[in-house]
């Protein structure tokens, strides 16, 4: 997200060199960053029109990525796009919602088809259609790609356009505040003047003067917001409202099954929420499942719980795809969702009280694919004061104050 915003700021700035942009990264190996630990999927099948629009825009961006992110004298970008759709399965209970979602998606111009169990069986003979009432399949602009390639391309291009890459950890902010008396109560508005960056392997703390800060710290953005005073004010005021984004650990398992579904295996989203897709052409598949609220694992480290696969995932997989009865787990990893506990959707826009902190976070498992569109929206908001390409007012921080969620139904 950070590099996407930096690229778009440079791309949309009105005069060359008008902006000085620095991306501050504490871990340039990205060992814990969600981006490189994701499974790289892109889909149009969301329930909110804004999310569908973001996906459509991102698909366009990825298709023409070399026109945007190509750098002269550097090899062209290959994001290794696999054009296989998402196949959402719905039970009798979920059928109406699925169809409703498909209408939203089609209204936005996405190409999504509905399949009956019979059609499903014909197309995917390896699938057990028990308990499936209807399915939807994204015909275009869906699939998966290499997250590293996209991250690297954004970074390379942004740096070539003059963005500073800064290695260090943001540890605190210096803010100045003004008191504002409104008829109802007293408000404290604040501005960030300096970002304090802790340099690697040193005790030195470097203040960086800035006119605004974009909080793109992924699952750690709640913590970063707190450093600027968001959500730590007195109770029962706006100051108390936190950025509701926190890390949630998600496991991805890779298994081998030579007689598996084969080359045309799409990303299947089972009625139980379990997902899987093909990985490469050597008979490997990968997949996972979001745990229930009670099962949420500890987030201290990225260790994988293998019993979660054995107990929760495998039975569901084997039910849906009987050949998966004989699968063998090859490897597994875990990553953090930048999970928005309020409504599982992005937070885009500035904070009402800390005026110059802009959020671009909380994507809860679909942030990679939305990074091109969201980065652009953020740059538009910063440079022009409003969204131009896609209106994302719905995702503003204000919804946490008014208590109106922008709920997304299709969270995997």
């Amino acid at each position: 997200m950070g590099w996407s915003v930096a690229y778009w700021l440079k791309c949309l700035e009105t005069r060359k060199g008008a902006l000085q942009v620095a991306v501050i990264e504490k871990d340039p190996t990205y060992s814990k960053a969600s981006t490189v630990l994701s499974v790289g999927g892109i889909r149009q099948q969301f329930s909110l029109p804004e999310n569908v629009q973001m996906s459509l825009y991102s698909a366009f961006f990825l298709r023409t990525i070399n026109e945007h992110l190509g750098v002269v004298n550097e090899p062209p970008i290959d994001i290794q796009f696999n054009p296989l759709g998402y196949l959402f399965l719905a039970s009798e209970d979920g059928a109406a919602i699925l169809e409703e979602n498909v209408h939203v998606q089609r209204d936005q111009g996405a190409k999504v088809s509905l399949l009956s169990p019979t059609q499903l069986k014909k197309k995917y003979p390896w699938l057990n259609t028990d308990g499936v009432a209807v399915a939807s399949y994204g015909l275009e602009n869906e699939g998966w790609f290499d997250p590293w390639a996209l991250l690297h391309a954004f970074k390379r291009k942004a740096i070539s356009m003059g963005v500073y890459s800064c290695h260090g950890e943001v540890t605190s902010f210096t803010t100045s505040s003004t008191e504002l008396l409104t008829p109802e109560r007293e408000l404290t508005l604040s501005r960030i003047n300096y970002v304090h960056v802790q340099m690697p392997n040193s005790l030195e703390n470097q203040p960086v003067e800035c006119s605004l800060v974009v909080n793109a710290a992924g699952c750690w953005s709640g913590k970063l917001a707190e450093m600027a005073g968001v959500g730590i004010g007195s109770p029962n005021t706006q100051d108390e409202i936190k950025l509701p984004v926190e890390p949630r650990k998600r496991y991805v398992y890779v298994w081998h099954c030579p007689d598996g579904p084969g080359l045309a295996c799409p990303t299947v989203i089972d009625t139980t929420g379990t997902y899987f897709r093909r990985e490469g052409i050597g008979g490997n598949y990968l997949g996972g499942l979001s745990p229930t609220e009670e099962e949420e694992p500890d987030i201290q480290d990225l260790k994988v719980d293998h019993s979660f696969f054995q107990e929760k995932i495998w039975p569901k997989l084997a039910h849906r795809v009987p050949v998966f009865e004989s699968l063998k787990v090859r490897s597994a990893w875990a990553g953090y969702y930048d999970y928005n506990t309020f409504d599982q959707n992005a937070v885009l826009g500035s904070h009402p009280l800390v005026e110059n902190m802009f959020f671009i976070t909380g994507f809860s498992g679909h942030g990679l694919q939305h990074s091109p569109a969201a980065g652009r929206a953020m740059a538009e908001l910063i440079l022009e004061g409003k969204f131009k390409t896609i209106c994302m007012e719905k995702f503003s921080f204000n919804r946490f104050i008014t208590g109106e969620p922008a709920l997304e139904r299709n969270i995997i």
Partner: protein, 225 residues
Amino acid sequence: ASSWAAVRVCMGRPQPRGRRSATERLPVHKPAPPPASEPLRQRFLRYLCSRFYDIESLVDWSAKLHFKNLRRKNAFQGQERWFRAERHGTFNSDFLQFRDVPVEAIDLAGSVVNYHGLDNLVKLTALKSLDLSRCPNVDEWALSRLHVFAETLEELSLAGCPQVTERGLACLQQLENLRRLDLSHLPAVPCQGLLRILVEEMLPGCEVVGLDSGAQTSQEEEVPA
């Protein structure tokens, strides 16, 4: 933007919908008479014409030869006649007569058609045969649009497309009625032997040409000595 000068359109007889029987829809697809038997000179010309459309229009006899080849190709498809662009990329006026006749075959071999260029084709709901061989801009994004022909397309050639990869091939599963798929000379496809098995498994009932075992014969077909 894409150039359309190399477009040849073949029209089928206007047919009432739903009358086509299964056997009619599945003509026996013997590959075109192997051009390998032609003299070298002719093969070379054929190659040139298919690459550079201006050569055809400048050298008249070359065009005739080309036309003959096309007609021959036609015969086995059981279709009527091919239309092709003239020198300036315009079509002969009797082409207009066939406004209401569904287009059944498009030959875009060697053209620069890309993802956007396919906009012009997606409305052809009766398309049975599509030749995209040696198209340098056909990539996985372009292939992902072919699903619009899922109901009708029986024959597809992607031979010699430098950007076609195993990733793109996977989405051809949508083409349920495919009977013949030419995948010879795909330099970007790894593990061709394995991939052939995977593609055949994915498209039962479709004859896959090329990819490893088929590579040898088609090599003679495509590349002039």
